[in-house]
Point group: C2
Chain length 198, copies 2
């Protein structure tokens, strides 16, 4: 999502797009508690009344931003091997979290979710969608005989993301390419060892 992007759908959609772009930028620049609705309206060039009537709270805006992000599909890799697919997933997550703007945005969204149930619900839905988009990589590995049929496919995909988020959130450091390589390798090794059998 960028400010230059033009969305279909008329004025209401343009207003939403402008406000969500402003919210993402404010989250990156000020953190989840560093702005209010009036500030978002000013940044987006939208009347305060419209923003208060349509969203009402900063939490509702942030939840709407996450819902909007969830709509953008990120197609899974299909390299033909579990190791290749998980490496591609790890590198995608690494690149997102290591990007200065995106990394700060995701850290701010996680922080906002700890204090706002609506944001937490939206974020859980966001991750459920992302995980489900990549589960077929693990299901294909099962079909190829690389993994046991009882493997919890979602757990394997989550295991790739976990150490990369853990590094960003507990150390405040962007994950490195070495972190990504280890995250993918650890998830694959654990899956092959039967740790994720359900």
């Amino acid at each position: 999502m960028t400010g230059a992007e033009v969305r279909p759908g008329g004025r209401a959609a343009r207003v939403r797009s402008a406000l969500l772009d402003a919210a993402a930028t404010a989250l990156v620049e000020c953190g989840p508690a560093g702005f209010d609705l009036a500030e978002l309206a000013r940044r987006a060039g939208i009347g305060k009344t419209t923003v208060y009537r349509r969203w009402g709270t900063v939490g509702a805006v942030v939840g709407d931003l996450v819902a909007d992000m969830a709509e953008t599909s990120l197609p899974r890799a299909d390299t033909g091997t579990l190791d290749g697919d998980l490496a591609a997933n790890a590198d995608l997550v690494r690149a997102t979290l290591a990007d200065p703007r995106q990394g700060r945005l995701f850290a701010a969204l996680v922080a906002a979710a700890t204090a706002d149930p609506a944001t937490a619900d939206a974020l859980r839905d966001f991750y459920d969608r992302r995980i489900s988009e990549w589960q077929p990589c693990v299901a294909d590995a099962v079909a190829r005989g690389e993994l046991d049929p009882g493997t919890d496919t979602a757990a394997v995909v989550r295991a790739v993301s976990a150490p990369l988020y853990y590094r960003l959130l507990t150390r405040g450091e962007p994950p490195t390419e070495d972190d990504a390589r280890r995250a993918a390798g650890a998830a694959a090794a654990a899956a092959r060892a039967g740790v994720f059998l359900s």
Copy 2:
């Protein structure tokens, strides 16, 4: 740390203890952005002037709270096997994050760290200490011949915590005993497969 705990060190130490207890409770009840120094002073029964002079900002109080938490040592397990030690570590982290008060406190601290560099530094130091307390479990496994001598011992311990924090922070759900079992098993399997060779 509890309100009932009496610390040595005279009035200054008692003031610090009372304020840090109030800060932990405010973080649990209100989140990282839900209170100010005046509110902390009121909750702790300390004069506002003292609090402003000694800490100056909420970020400084939260950083001091984390530094205080880092002082409390949690001894490593010594079960005689890598699997047993990592299972004990996973269960300790699970129990902390699944405890309603502690889980909310850690989520709030991670959230605060995303917006305040002093808190982020203190939190990184906190986790460095916790990880280093448990690294000997992995070093002992190397000495017993369970793992390759080139194993990055800190990385193995971090791999146990990562999925438990990931679940709490991205799903807003306390980690379960099954999550802990998988976290320990995945870290051990990956270590045995050589994923954490440095």
